[in-house]
Amino acid sequence: MRIESGGVLGNGVRHVRASEGCAVIAFDNVAYNYGGGELLSEISLRLAPGSFHFLTGPSGAGKTTFLKLCYAELLPTAGRVALFDRDVRGLSRDDIAHTRRRIGVVHQDCQFLDHLPLATNVTLPLTVSNREPDVRDLTDLLQWVGLADLADALPPSLSGGERQRAALARAVIMSPDVILADEPTGNLDWEMSLRLLTLLVELNRMGKTILVATHDLNLIRQAKAQVAARVLRIRNRRIQLAGADL
C-alpha cells in the first residue's frame, strides 16, 4: 500500500492536532425525532480525536440519523451537538460548509453528480473548496479502491459496490480529520470489505477519527484484531457502549 508514503491520504504523520483531549464530536443529552415519536433520546457521548468506533443496531434503529447529526445535516431536536467544539446551532451555513470539509462522509445512498465522470466526482470536495486536485494522488487513490479503469465512467453506470468505493475515495480525498461511513461494506464482497477496513485502519493510524455504522459483525471482529475499536450500539433509542461479546 503506497498510500502511507505521503500523497492524498497521509499528510506525513500528522497526528492529532491542537484539539487533543477535546472531543471531535460531542453529544450532550441529544434527542431526535422526525416529527413523530422520539427516535433517539438521552444520547451523551464524545468521540475523542484519533478514536475508532463502530455503530451498530438493527435496521431502522437510527444509525443513519445519528451520522447525519454528526455532520450537521440534521440538527438535534433537544440537547446539544458540538463538532470540533462548536455547537452546531451556532454555525452559519458557511461554517457548516467549512466544517464538512473536515468530515469525510461515505453516505449510505452514495450520492454523486450523475453528469460528471467518476474522477471528477471523487475530486468534488477539492473543487468546491477551490483547490486543484493532484493528478497523481487521484490516480493512487482510484487505484487503491480498484476504480482506476473507471475514472471516466459516469456514476449511473457503476455497480453498487463500485459506487461505495467511489464514495469512500471521495470521503478521504480532502484528508479530513473525521471519517464517517454509513454501511460502507453493504454492497461489497468480503475481500473488498477487508480492503476497505484496512484503509480505514490505516487512516486511523494517521490520526483520523473514524466512525463506521454497520451491522456486519464479522467486519467488527476483523477490525478489533487490528485496531482498538469500540462498539456503540443503538438500543431502545439510547446508545450504549457494547461489551466485548461480539
Binding site: 455532520y71 451555513r93 467549512h98 464538512r100 453516505h107 450520492q111 460528471l116 468534488l124 468546491v128 480532502m174
Partner: protein, 301 residues
Amino acid sequence: MTRFRTLLSDLMHADRHADRVVPPTGHTAWLTLFTAGAMTFLAVFALALSLASGRLADRWADALARTATIRIAAPPDQMEVQIRAVLDVLATTPGVASARALTDDEQRALLEPWFGPDLPVESLPVPRLVELIEEDDGYDAEGLRQRLAAEAPGAVLDDHTRWRRPLVIAAGRLRLLGWASILLIGGTMAAMITLAANASLAANAQVIKVLRLVGARDAYIVRAFVRRFTLRALAGAAAGALAGMIGVALLPSADAAGGFLTGLGFTGAGWLLPLLLPPLAALVAFLATRTAAFRKLKELT
C-alpha cells in the same frame, strides 16, 4: 462598495469548475434566452418612442411657445391704419420681443395651398397677419387683447397656447410612458428570469444537496447558476437589441415635415443607447438569479 466589487468579481470570475458542477438544463436555458431577447427587443422600441416623443415635446415647446399671430379683419381702406395701430400697441407691450406684419408674398404662400398661386392678396378682403415673438417670460395675453380691442377693433390675438399646451403635455406623457414601459419590461424580465432560475434550482435539488454535503458554500453554488443565467441573458439581450435596432433602422426616415411616426428612430449618438440594454439585461438577470438562488438554497438544504 466592497459589496459591489464582490458582485462584479462574481460576475466576471471565470470559474469553469463552478459552471460544470451544475448540469446544463434545456428549457430554462431557452426560456431565459428567449425572455431576454424578446424583452430587449421591446425595450429598443420603447426607448425609440421615449426619445422621439422627447424630441417632439422639445420641438413643439420651442417652436410654438415663442410666437403668436394677430389676425386683422378690416375694410381695405382701413387695413393699413389698423396694422399700424396693432404694431404700435405691440411695440409698447411688455414681454413682446418683436412684431412684424407678414408680407404679401408670405401671405400668398400661406394661402396658396387653398387658392392657387395667382391670388391677388392685396385686393381681397382676407385678413392680414401680424406675427409677434415673445420674450422668455411671455406677455399678458388678456391685457393685450383688451388693448387691441380698444386700438384696433378688427384685430384678434391668436396665441396658440390653447392647442399648443395639450400637445406639449401629450408628448411629455408619451415620453414618460416610454420610460415606464422600459421599467415594466425590465421588471417583467426580472420576474421571468427569477422563475426560470427557481425552476432550474428546483430541478437541480439533488445536485445542490450533493454539493452542500461535500462542503460547498452557498456562494459557490450560487455562482454556478448566476454565471449561466447572466451569460444567457446577455446573449439573448444582444440578439434582441440587434433585431430591435434593425427594426428601427428600417422605419422610413424622418422627412422634412417631421411627422411623429416618421421621426421614430435614433439619431446620432442616440444609436448608442440601445447598446446599453444588453449589459443592463445581464445585470438584471445577475441580480434576479442571485437573489433567487440564495433564497432557494436555504429552502432546499
